[in-house]
Amino acid sequence: MLREPAHRVSRRAVLMWTIQALVVLAVLLAGQVVWWLVDDSPSRSLHWIVGAVWLVAGAAYAVAMPQWRYRVHRWEATSRAIYTQSGWLRQERRIAPLSRVQTVDLERGPVAQLLGLASVTVTTASAAGPVTIHGLDLPVAHELVDALTAAAVAETGDAT
């Protein structure tokens, strides 16, 4: 049996996922407002029902999902392999040997930049195989990228 990966992601990742969930809720709210303005019928009860439904579901999502994700998300890199665990309702563990790594990317979305976070993506020759770690502290991410790049350069062959 496989143990869990050693490291958790940054605690601020919870905030990042919460903000991302709130963005989704804001889009829903905008839709609701447009509907309110466009609708001509005098009865507004349907609006309140639909709004209440997504508000409750959305609030639950915005509160539960980030915590859940944070508990699941873990990562570990050794000199031979990178190993991650991610997801919430649907969870997955990925392992890729560093000998098959082709590229290492560091990405920072707008929210991540605000919070000093970054995600690291490791791609292999398989289109199905990219391994991504979201919500790393920026210094940790840089360190990881350096280590992975060094390991990937050390390997030869075309990694297929």
Partner: protein
Amino acid sequence: MSEDTDGWRRLDARMLLVHPLETLIRFLPALLAVVLFRSGSDANDRWELYAIPLIVAFGVLRWLTTRYRIADGQIELRRGLFTKQTTTARLDKVRTIDLTARVYHRLLGLAKVEVSTAGGHHDRLVLDALGVDAGRRLRAELLHRLDPAVTGLPAPTGAPMAVEDVPREAPPRVDDELLLRLDPTWIRYAPLTVTGLASAAAIVGFATQGFSRFSQERSVFRDGASLVSRLSWWADVLLLLGIVSLLAVGAYVLTFWGFRLTRNRLGTLHTRRGLLTSRETSIDAARVRGIRLDEPLGLRLAGARRLKVVTSGLLREQGGSDWLCPPAPADVVTPLALRIRPDEAAVSGPLTPHGPAAQRRRLTRAVVPATLVAAALVAARLLWDWHGSLLVLVPLILVGAVALGQDRYRALGHTVTPGHLVSRHGSLDRQRIVLDRDGIIGWKVEQSFFQRRVGVATLVATTAAGAQHYDVVDVPLEQAYAVLAHVSPELLADFA
């Protein structure tokens, strides 16, 4: 053949004839529209004729501006007049080479050469077109670059060199091993595959649309249509089945006529097929990562199979490039699979079943949608007074769903042999993947919410070849990790 100092070569000059023809075919609908429009008016001005010199000039320009060369260990293709475009591929990344010749190519002795390389399916070079001989020599040079004995040349990584310098006779065929030749009696399997049926259905659909237009005017069609509508429903079904089968047979013949699979002494697999459009595919043995035995329901019931290759760098948009054997009897396909992957346990051995949780999940997934459909039928009968005979379908649907779920469960299985990871799944489209263990470049263990509750997982082996990932579905979690540990012990050592 001209060649400038840097080794740049042109396409075959005969393509100047092909290009206007191709353009003509591409614009055939537009041309027909013009002709139809013309027939309705009195105008005598044949302005569409002005397009012909333009098309020819465009073809000449394309010929003049397209060049390719093999130099410094790479093949380069340069084209374009205003925007120059250079495509480059390293020779050691070349995976597969396709030679395609449509009817008019064949008349002129031409073939389109497509070179696909590693690193994504969009990475390919198309040379449209070379002479068939030049194309075959280029292929020999690219694929057999590691063995100068085959081409009689040093490896093409050194000085620039012309393809025409390759000896005129094609690479030695004497020691090529003939693995398979199409037996015309296999055509009987054509109507049994889903792809055959789908293509036939598409043709029927188009044809009925076309006919419905004519049927208003032409008495032949009107009489035919009224004849069909007078037949009883089972005769209609039989008629439809007959037409669809005939069309599927036609598609099979067009695609697979003269199918031949050979292997040269370097292991390169080479297929050749096609009645009108002939197609030759060469697959570098070093790129083959396994095989896939397909047993769709129809073929399975008839005791037939088909075989595909799992390889990196195949042209996916060209359906059928990866076929090693068209639908054929199992006692032909299994020995063939064994010759390509000599691992009896992997190709035809028993598989480890996935247990009761997987069985329950198969049944749930089949029965729940079927129950919904059945409930909808009953509701339609009660609420909108649909015809009562529809209720006959309810038990049929439910029984069919249970049978499907059971069959899907029976398909589930996996095993690990010294050389391969084997996984099987599916009922209507059952497939058995035999994946080389050293072709696996990563792992994923996925669990949905429901899979976690019953302790099963989907084990995904990622690879650079074929579908990029191959799944072992609904395997008990501890078995999934056992497979992982068995195949990649060095990976797990760090995390155990």
